[in-house]
């Protein structure tokens, strides 16, 4: 079950556990701005192939623009 987290936990996971950030918005929104170090895998394209570069042993944090 995915864990909902806040900003402080994002910072902790990045710092302590080398978490991987994934922005799931469309590419133009990602190119406009994104969290430092994030990669872009739009929601519609999330599958085994597109996530192949992610390290399954490390935490993966997904985010979009906001919770709306």
């Amino acid at each position: 079950m995915p864990f909902p987290i806040d900003r402080d936990e994002v910072l902790r996971l990045l710092h302590d556990e080398e978490a991987q950030l994934v922005e799931v918005l469309p590419p133009d929104e990602y190119e406009d701005e994104h969290l430092p170090g994030a990669i872009n895998i739009p929601l519609k394209t999330l599958d085994r192939e597109t996530t192949g570069l992610l390290d399954r042993e490390r935490p993966v944090i997904v985010y979009c623009y906001d919770s709306q």
Partner: protein
Amino acid sequence: MSPRAAWRLESIGFTRVYDYSAGKADWGSFGLPLEGQRHSGTRVGAHLQADVPTCTLWESLEAVRQRVRGVGADTCFVVNEQRIVLGRLGRAALDRDDDVTADDAMTAGPSTVRPSLDLSAALERMRKQNLSDLPVTSSDGVFLGVIRRDDAERALEAMDAVPK
């Protein structure tokens, strides 16, 4: 959208999946850095002045006035222990000569903006409301500083992006 993405990742075998649903909006509203093609200077956060006088509700207006004028300022923001903005003491309030507290003299609940707001939107708001500055807070209300109208105009002129 991100909860669906998190569940999708789980469905394809990832076991340590976290959902930061507050996302970019939350990140930017705390003044944390973002990367990308968008010029970071187009956000309020890049131009905010953090060195701004603050006081508590209970301070005497006289003491606040002396402190504020001692640093050449003409506005003071009233904050609580958590630095949540409760009010503003502008020129007129600081000019009062009666013996009152900041609580008595302040204008309560000034409108605030986030560091992630477009600088041009902040300038438009200051023009519309005839304000020389706006307090900037994080999305949980903590005071970060002010964005000054002069600074916003200068920055947008330099970017050739002053709103009409």
